[in-house]
């Protein structure tokens, strides 16, 4: 894959502002592909070790020691200019533990929840996560083979997201398509912040 900008490797200043957008969804839905479609670098992988706080999970076995789990994130970068850098983090799909990663949502500008209509339920957890933490998000319905079995309205109804949350069809392999979803997210964030914070809109449901 070609990455966006071998010709525009801008070196950020140390006082640059770094922002992050999260891309979440079920396993194999195309999160890393989406990151790669707009990143100026080949997606990188970083890991965090999370300690499971609850002993409840292991209660049946009587084992109550804490478990440490390694959770990986794939991420890419878009250097807007020397003063502004946007990071896109693809959350791990299969691993339930990323929901404990508090730092992930902290300070995130917003999120994209990628949905696969063949396995819609696999993105419910991500939607809950962002709703709970009041992170503005849009839903991108990844159309893998170009055929779309469901309309946006059907997907929206199935996901039961708030009416103000944008739901779009996309093909994450295509840079133009990923740009559209990112644009929709930014516009969504701006519309929310223009009328009070996202949290208010969420609380008012």
């Amino acid at each position: 894959m070609e990455y966006v900008s071998s010709d525009r490797m801008i070196r950020p200043a140390i006082n640059a502002t770094a922002l992050k957008i999260l891309i979440a969804g079920g396993f194999g839905v195309g999160k890393t592909t989406m990151v790669g479609s707009v990143s100026e670098i080949e997606p990188l992988r970083t890991e965090e070790q999370l300690t499971e706080r609850s002993a409840g999970v292991d209660d049946v076995t009587g084992v109550e020691r804490k478990r440490t789990t390694t959770v990986a994130l794939d991420f890419g970068r878009i250097t807007i200019n020397t003063e502004l850098i946007l990071y896109l983090f693809g959350t791990p799909g299969q691993d339930r533990f990323w929901f404990m990663w508090d730092e992930l949502a902290q300070g995130a500008l917003g999120a994209i929840v990628l949905a696969d209509t063949r396995r819609l339920a696999s993105c419910f957890a991500a939607i809950d996560f962002f709703e709970e933490r009041q992170v503005p998000f849009v839903v991108g319905v990844n159309c893998f083979d170009g055929s779309q079995a469901y309309t946006v309205d059907e997907v929206r109804a199935a996901l039961d997201v708030d009416p103000f949350v944008p739901v779009l069809l996309c093909d994450v392999r295509q840079r133009a398509s990923t740009k559209e979803v990112l644009t929709a997210l930014l516009e969504h964030i701006m519309s929310i912040t223009g009328h009070g914070r996202a949290r208010r809109a969420v609380v008012d449901r």
Binding site: V4, S5, R11, P12, A13, I14, N15, A16, T17, A18, L19, K20, V38, L44, R45, T46, E47, E48, Q49, V63, R65, R67, T68, T69, T70, L73, F75, R77, I78, I80, N81, L84, I85, L86, Y87, F89, E103, Q106, G107, A108, L109, R175, K179, L182, T183, L186, E187, I189, M190, T193, G194
Partner: protein, 123 residues
């Protein structure tokens, strides 16, 4: 511990123990101002031998301003470990980090959002 020595060979525990030997067991940093997108940069080149290998590895990754997530990916170490090592390097004035961005939401002013939007459109 359960008292069962085989626990040490539990694959869940296996490779996880090692990175934290770099940090001499420290798993948390006192400072809460380092996050995965905090930008860091090496302040000076060091002379060989001053630092241990793990710190050198981190320092080598941040010769230009770079996020902590990228340092972790470059050094192939977990984020938590990298934060501990970076906080050492910051305390010893090897590394400078971007201050004052405690709340990234504060940084996302309408003007900033507009710049991001324009930047995405230009991709």
């Amino acid at each position: 511990m359960s008292g069962d020595d085989s626990a040490w060979f539990d694959e869940d525990a296996g490779p996880l123990a090692r990175p934290y030997t770099f940090t001499r067991g420290r798993t948390h940093v006192d400072r809460n101002d380092l996050n995965m997108i905090t930008l860091v940069v090496a302040l000076r080149s060091h002379h060989g031998g001053e630092l241990d290998h793990a710190h050198e590895r981190i320092l080598a990754c941040c010769q230009n301003p770079i996020s902590i997530a990228e340092v972790a990916a470059g050094a192939d170490l977990p984020l938590g470990v990298v934060k501990v090592l970076l906080s050492d390097l910051i305390e010893q004035n090897y590394v400078l980090f971007r201050t004052g961005l405690a709340s990234p939401s504060a940084a996302a002013s309408p003007d900033t959002l507009l710049k991001v939007l324009d930047g995405i459109r230009e991709l």
